[in-house]
């Protein structure tokens, strides 16, 4: 079991900076994030986009800001659980929390700071009737173990990098691959697009463009997918259907934690960004208050005030004295 002072849910910019402000107050942090890397949307959605409203940086790439934050918080030795989603929460007798992830990692924390941004990123699911019935019964939204598809008939849908990459990789493993895409052209790395075109020309894969998957059928297990092209609708027999349409954020399990929520955002008191549940705070894009602006710089401010309040919970008997970093420097943890 992991023990920490503050469990930060979400390792985006706001969650990362929380480690710094908490560290100045000698509070230790552990972060959990559903994505396999830190940085949240900045890494997942727009690493190469410049941001122009970070104070002191006339322009900084989102990815660079994440790198800088990681460097800034390093002295405070944060620990991470990446690629896992915080699922269940339990309050223990001593007032602390026990959070369990979807992979059964257990984290004990005196305070919880939800810095979940837009929510946790989950695969986009195509709106095909009854698709959910076949999840894990032939429908996979991500490829975990390529070997699963050895000598199987597969349909991959999508036009981005992951659809292209998996088509290439699985073309040597699967018995047969069909790839379908809405348009004639592909986004994604040019190199991958070329390779897929070569595979198609060589007859190693079937490429169907300007087409969509619209139906599923099977008896408990997936048997076939209905494909709509410009010319006709037809059924294709497959063992597996892998729709790869990127990730989109969902509030996820924290929606069931008893928090007061307005339009997918957690209501907080702007005094300290506390939620209606004692000991749980919400900062950054995921919170909601009058006048809220979803800006990274506002999230930094919220994190800073929040840890002051968190300190009082962790050390109820100690007095907090405020010090400038220019005076005391940054005294990291060993």
């Amino acid at each position: 079991m992991i023990k920490t002072d503050i469990l930060i849910i979400g390792a985006g910019p706001c969650g990362l900076f929380t480690v710094f402000e908490a560290g100045l107050l000698k509070l230790k942090c552990h972060l959990i994030d559903v994505l396999p890397q830190v940085g949240g949307q900045l890494s997942e959605i727009y690493p190469k986009k410049p941001i122009y409203d970070i104070p002191g940086f006339p322009s900084i790439l989102a990815g660079e800001l994440v790198d800088n934050l990681m460097q800034q918080i390093e002295p405070f030795k944060p620990t991470f659980t990446l690629g896992e989603q915080a699922c269940e929460i339990k309050r223990l007798d001593d007032g602390s929390f026990e959070v369990t992830s979807n992979k059964q990692t257990i984290i004990n924390a005196k305070v919880i700071a939800i810095a979940g941004g837009l929510g946790s990123f989950e695969p986009r699911k195509p709106p095909i009737p009854n698709l959910a019935t076949f999840e894990d019964q032939g429908v996979d939204y991500m490829v975990k173990d390529p070997e699963k598809y050895r000598n199987k008939k597969i349909l991959i849908a999508g036009g981005g990098d992951s659809a292209l990459d998996w088509t290439i990789e699985l073309s040597d493993i699967a018995e047969h691959i069909t790839m379908i895409h809405r348009r004639n052209s592909f986004r994604g790395a040019l190199d991958s697009v070329d390779k897929v075109m070569e595979l198609s020309k060589a007859g190693k894969i079937d490429l169907i463009t300007e087409a969509q998957a619209i139906g599923v059928k099977g008896n408990g297990k997936l048997d076939a997918i209905e494909i709509k092209t410009k010319e006709n609708n037809h059924w294709l027999d497959v063992d597996y259907f892998i729709p790869l349409f990127g990730l989109s954020p969902k509030l996820g399990p924290i929606a069931d934690w008893g928090l007061s929520i307005t339009r997918s955002a957690i209501d907080v008191d702007t005094l300290d960004y506390s939620t209606n549940v004692d000991g749980i705070y919400a900062i950054g894009d995921i919170n909601n208050y009058e006048g809220k602006l979803k800006l990274i710089l506002c999230g930094f401010h919220e994190a800073t005030l929040m840890v002051q309040s968190a300190f009082k919970r962790v050390y109820p008997d100690q007095k907090l004295s405020f010090k400038y970093t220019t005076v005391s420097g940054v005294n990291g943890f060993s």
């Binding site: 959605i45 727009y46 195509p126 709106p127 036009g159 809405r182 052209s185």
Partner: protein
């Protein structure tokens, strides 16, 4: 000075909403719809990076061509038709006065 244009937005229940939008404020269509509290998420804030402001264009106004970024994002959206656009990529300018759009359905 009256620089407002008129827009008609049909929501997912089929109800038409008449909106007015200023042209001199550098707004885009997604922002106008969100400000009117129509059910448009605009999750990414207007960077053509999430497709949560997907809509259909119902009139034959000449719009700016979709960028590669917008087309790429539409690849990840569902219910895409030939008149699909991301409303965040449509600037509020005089030439779209009278534009009518319908919000695309949202998937799970």
């Amino acid at each position: 000075m009256d620089e407002n244009i008129k827009l008609v937005i049909v929501d997912r229940e089929g109800t038409a909403h008449d909106l007015e939008a200023p042209t001199e404020m550098n707004f885009n269509l997604m922002e106008i719809m969100r400000a009117a509290e129509l059910p448009v998420e605009g999750t990414c804030g207007g960077m053509a990076l999430c497709a949560s402001c997907h809509c259909y264009i119902n009139t034959d106004h000449e719009l700016n061509e979709p960028s590669d970024d917008e087309e790429d994002m539409l690849d990840q959206a569902f219910f895409v038709e030939s008149n699909s656009r991301l409303s965040c990529q449509i600037p509020i300018t005089k030439n779209i006065d009278g534009l009518k759009v319908t919000l695309a359905p949202v998937s799970e």
